[in-house]
Symmetry: C2
Subunit: 177 residues, 2 copies
């Protein structure tokens, strides 16, 4: 039986942070950059008065229409599919209005992943997979496979897991030589 | 660590078939009943010319607002939560427009199940749980735990799994004496 890989969407296959920064900088005439976020989420890096507005950005369906694909994710995932069963697992429960928009985004940019292999879940430890590629280590605690931490500014100081800094790193780690 | 139970929504916690029959009978001035469906899904039991319209019923958000809760499911699930971690797992991928309506229905009728424990997935073999209570045996094939078949007219002739005909049966099977 083939091994399974579950892959997160936000900040792993989708460059969600790029969208947040672009909208935030336009919204508040700011110049916030990746470097300003080291060790924290964008909602914690902005002034407290801006926080609620920033957290609401994904409520706008336009957010997902403009969301960029993470570099190399499409090509590497297609190569992974030759060796593994690949699932996308995204935590959409904080934004119930975003389910349909997230699903449409995945179908548009990752048409080679079947709808049956798309999972929306809040607690990813419920996934029966061999690997989970995610930027949030909180999902790894009860996960039965190995969590691979996809580097993002907010997880800079997290230790205890193998780390991948790019999709090229994922290819090196999981594809046969 | 506590055992986990994953529970389907349609025809297990929600009496989806009751809604289909009510809408269909009003729509086509018909008298279709549970007894007419033995061994098949409603979409296969109606004249071919009606099939597409029947399959589209869940596209209307009103479908979920009127959807009844399966008898005893709320009380038994609350008792199960004292002994198990309970997840709801529903296959919403055929009806992407229904994600938000299904989520709202679950929050309304099962407020004691946390949003983190609600899963939308097409292929339920991805769930890492000890039991899966479902009316569709197709999800059991690669599932690592035990599938418990919740009786519905369409699965009357399915064999090979332990079967529960009601939520009282679930209580007898999974709750301590």
């Amino acid at each position: 039986m083939r091994q399974r890989i579950a892959i997160d969407m936000d900040e792993v296959t989708a460059d969600t942070l790029d969208s947040y920064l672009a909208i935030y900088n336009a919204d508040f005439q700011a110049q916030l950059s990746y470097a300003d976020l080291a060790g924290q989420h964008i909602a914690d890096a902005v002034p407290a008065a801006h926080r609620e507005r920033v957290l609401a950005y994904p409520d706008d369906p336009a957010f997902f229409r403009a969301l960029p694909v993470m570099a190399d994710s499409q090509a590497v995932i297609q190569r992974l599919q030759k060796h593994y069963d690949v699932f996308i697992a995204t935590a959409a429960m904080e934004y119930p209005t975003s389910f349909a928009a997230k699903f449409a985004w995945l179908r548009q940019h990752f048409p080679f992943i079947a709808p049956t292999n798309i999972v929306f879940c809040g607690d990813k430890s419920i996934l029966d997979a061999d690997y989970l590629i995610d930027d949030s280590a909180r999902h790894f605690a009860r996960f039965r496979g190995e969590g691979l931490l996809f580097s993002a500014p907010h997880n800079r100081d997290v230790t205890g897991y193998r780390r991948v800094a790019s999709w090229q790193d994922v290819a090196v780690l999981l594809l046969p030589r």
